[in-house]
Symmetry: C2
Subunit: 169 residues, 2 copies
DNA sequence: TGGGCATATATGCGTGGTCCTATATAGGAC
DNA sequence: GTCCTATATAGGACCACGCATATATGCCCA
């Protein structure tokens, strides 16, 4: 359940409503974490239950009240514990590679189409990543922008592999 | 539900029991797909239900009967349809990058430890990948080994990023 | 007046998936 | 004799998640 930790991390930067969190996930952390709106609200409720977060209702005129979620000391402790805990082994799951692996039973055109489609998608994601601001500031900011550079490197490596593989067909 | 397609793909290469499939997932396709044993049996049952696969029971002495699963013509059609269908957009979920992103609130030692741990894990996976045989044979075999080279490229890119990022701390 | 968009929260349903445990048998190690 | 490993299958509990949908309101634009 890394989503709860990601939420704690974001609430540590600033108190937010579920709605704010959704926008943040879709914006500044989309390159490494996608979150469903319903799941955000559910996880938020669980975090309130276990005391990691508390809610302050801010009335608004003309709009539903903001239920602003603030991280608690307990929440900060859990965040710190997570950041210091050993890395969980990641289990791979890459549908694209699965297709490549099995594409051999089809006409060569299928594999070519696969690679071409992926190339387009990868290029698109690369432009999206590169257009994001990359100012190196405080150490904390540098770590955050490093996650963007990670994406750029991975995508560039992928383009290289696609071209090599397509050429070998 | 890519697992069902991965299973169909493997059964297209050779008929197998659930047990065989588990070994295959842990072995030759582990670099791009991890599968839980219970989930394999459940998915296999679903594939039998929808006619993609049929079972031939092969009695054995001293061991439980082999329930050998064979792909049917319907199954082959579904496999082909999947291989030709448009790529699903992949939603990212990278716990490691999430940690890096939020590590800024901690002592610099935390980020350093994070990168060092990841470096070791990445290096380990690289050696595992490189030790696998890589003979270019038929076009189908070349596509399968291409998925290994994909992993090598990604891991190498990651090592580069880790070193760059660690140096910038 | 009506439509579309932004703000804001929440439930229900289904499903894919992980972990744990149970069952059955044989061979080899200690 | 007991324990471990390999072969082989499967159910139960639980969980995180994705998608669809509902509700409420105010603003702007046509």
């Amino acid at each position: 359940m890394s989503l709860s930790h990601a939420i704690l991390g974001l609430l540590d930067l600033a108190p937010m409503t579920g709605y704010d969190l959704k926008k943040t996930f879709d914006g500044s952390v989309a390159h490494f974490w996608a979150a469903d709106q319903a799941q955000i609200y559910r996880t938020l409720a669980a975090l309130v239950d276990d005391g990691s977060v508390d809610v302050r209702v801010v009335p608004q005129k003309g709009r539903p009240d903001r239920r602003e979620h603030h991280i608690t000391d307990d929440g900060r402790r859990r965040l710190t514990a997570w950041l210091g805990s050993p890395l969980e082994p990641e289990r791979s799951r890459e549908p694209f590679l699965a297709r490549v692996f099995f594409a051999g039973r089809e006409d060569p055109a299928v594999a070519r189409k696969l690679l071409a489609e992926r190339r387009a998608a990868t290029e698109e994601r690369l432009t999206a990543l590169r257009s994001l601001p990359d100012p190196a500031g405080t150490p904390a900011e540098r770590l955050r922008t490093a996650t963007l550079r990670y994406g750029v490197r991975q995508l560039e490596a992928e383009l290289g592999w696609i071209d090599e593989t397509a050429a070998a067909l």
